[in-house]
Symmetry: C2
């Protein structure tokens, strides 16, 4: 039951591609993450995922087009849609998705993979 200041929380993130939990409601997590460079192609079978850019530039590559996001913009990737986030070169991002979501979705587990129970809470 405390407010969350995005700038304060982001200042405590020390590594890229490692989402941290900053809020929980209705079975969903609010997460913050620093994106740097290219991520991996993946999709989520059942979870829709919101990317809101706090600072920096973020492209969400889809198989048929690219969504270019600036600060103050968000995009919702529907479940089942493959996507690849690419930060240019860095972006601070707020995510909103079901609590059970694995960050690399249906991709073969890799160096970026964090299961929900492995996530830090800031």
């Amino acid at each position: 039951m405390n407010k969350v200041n995005l700038t304060e929380k982001l200042a405590r993130i020390d590594q890229p591609w490692s989402p941290t939990i900053v809020g929980e409601l209705n079975g969903q997590y609010v997460k913050l993450a620093r994106f740097e460079g290219e991520y991996v192609w993946h999709g989520h079978e059942t979870e829709d995922e919101l990317f809101y850019v706090v600072s920096g530039r973020l492209n969400i590559e889809l198989r048929d087009r690219t969504i270019e996001l600036a600060p103050g913009e968000f995009f919702i990737v529907p479940h089942g849609v493959e996507h690849k986030p690419v930060a240019l070169p860095k972006a601070d991002v707020l995510l909103f998705e079901p609590a059970g979501t694995i960050n690399t979705g249906n991709a073969t587990p890799n160096q970026y993979t964090r299961k929900p129970e492995q996530l830090d809470r800031l």
Copy 2:
């Protein structure tokens, strides 16, 4: 499947206390609203509700204390907790809550009440 720019959407809101739907995911709505002055005391029996301040100042009065929000800050009101938003004097606010949420919750329906099916989509 389009990105959402908060500033562009907010420029199209012409009346206070009238949430508009700007995104939908996992059974939840992303809404934008302009708050002006005092709202009404209410609670939501089953829905948690996130208030994120885009611009302006917003107080979330609870029965035992007040949460003061500036731009870049959010607060989650858990279900069952009575609250009264007060903008000082105006605030642009992003809300995140289950799609079925009624904006005045368990308060007696009043001039502010908007049922989900009455909300505009921007």
